[in-house]
Symmetry: C3
Subunit: 210 residues, 3 copies
Amino acid sequence: MFPERTQLVLDLVGVFFFAVTGALLAARKGFDIVASTLLAGLTGLGGGVVRDVIINVRPAVFEHPVYLVPVVLGVAVVYLYYPHVPRFRRTLLLVDAAGLGLFCVTGTVKALAADVPAVSAVLLGVTSAVGGGLLRDVVAREVPSLFRYDDIYALPAVVGATVTALLWRLDALSVWTGVGASVLTFALRALAVRYGWRAPLAYRRQPPDG
Amino acid sequence: MFPERTQLVLDLVGVFFFAVTGALLAARKGFDIVASTLLAGLTGLGGGVVRDVIINVRPAVFEHPVYLVPVVLGVAVVYLYYPHVPRFRRTLLLVDAAGLGLFCVTGTVKALAADVPAVSAVLLGVTSAVGGGLLRDVVAREVPSLFRYDDIYALPAVVGATVTALLWRLDALSVWTGVGASVLTFALRALAVRYGWRAPLAYRRQPPDG
Amino acid sequence: MFPERTQLVLDLVGVFFFAVTGALLAARKGFDIVASTLLAGLTGLGGGVVRDVIINVRPAVFEHPVYLVPVVLGVAVVYLYYPHVPRFRRTLLLVDAAGLGLFCVTGTVKALAADVPAVSAVLLGVTSAVGGGLLRDVVAREVPSLFRYDDIYALPAVVGATVTALLWRLDALSVWTGVGASVLTFALRALAVRYGWRAPLAYRRQPPDG
């Protein structure tokens, strides 16, 4: 649906962004560099592996070892510059938001290319986008950022994946509109962080005698 | 093995029951409604997805988006009626037991239909039944209810899956005997809760000089 | 690549070693014997299942229920002898190291046999070796031993898997050289425990004005 090279580039950039967030968490937790690599790989590649296993495609990283390059780069960046990074918490959230924006679009596209119905493709796009971070947090014993009440995280990915599937239905999905959906997702997530946008709680508050 | 429509109905009802338990946990933890939906989906669909990925079948939810309906319904029920639900802790345990009973039978049937040996089909039936709840608890950072020592949880599912595989071996598996195995599982789990049935510990207590 | 029977024996021995570590954790946490069986199975079989799902092979345990035998044996050993085992913490670490050594070699061999590129086969070998223990720790809410800073754990498996892939590239992979790679991995891990070998941290310490 995208030219192969475009898909690859977008993928690798997304892997790099998420790998950085995994390596940063490893650094914060005092893990060693091997654990940092594992956590960066799980974050950068985990969501895509889950998606590919579900649609029964051999996960890209196990066909094309080039996917390991952005993981190693992410670990190296954190290894070299860690003490400077935490000063830029907002930068980090933006890096993560960039990964989210890229993966919800490329994940949906890959699912559509595997002949999954559009609604399920949206679900798989969101899985690609939030899966790696969820695995990262679960394995490192953090409260999944997905579930924190501070600001919406999954919803921008749902929007991005839905827009991608709609563009595809309307035969309007191209590299440019795809990148547009990524930027939209990124922007929604960035605004959610900036203004503390929240979703309603899981239950409607009611008076006890309601 | 079951008529397709019967299998679908049993599945959807099981998904609904487990989705409710996921949404309830989200409500208790103060997650928002998006997280509630994710957790309900993981609980209701996770065990089946793991089973299908193992037997190399595309998971039902990614072929038939109708599987998302009971998830949304479960989230909605909790959203609307949450404050009333915790008063009925026993009701909740029974809802979960109903999901357990349905999934250990339908999961075993699906595995047998994929030509898995009977012993492995039992294992996959149990995986379907307890997998979603395990994922729910791991992701939400709870002690897996599977491991709590209060009352047996997995064992009724093992019994239900074994009975299902035996019925199949004896060519006696029908909708009615299948539902019977479900009800048996449900009853065993309900009695375990009611009377605090426990399994032996993981080790035999011995005197220190034993 | 290995004769089938050899592969099976090495596999079953590895499953037994890891199953023992899972059952021991269950005993320490006061879980019941059902949870012990589940945790032993997850530890012994989880890494291989993840590998097989990724390379799109039906996991061995779901074809050959004989894989459940070492799990049951591991649970039985811990059930019968638990109070004696903790005195031998070093013995336990060695048992785990033996599993690590076996699985990083057999996992790499299975991935190579599925036509995965060599670099990815190394990754899958490491996944087989450390995956079960990671699942065990995550599900039982322990800090993954993989991430503890005490002594290197994954690195010996990386070495063993890399040596296996190199032997295969040089057409020198046989049962004997394979067992040699296993022993090397085991020895590296055992020495790491004995002498507290550590990897560098995830970040280079820098002066604040660095």
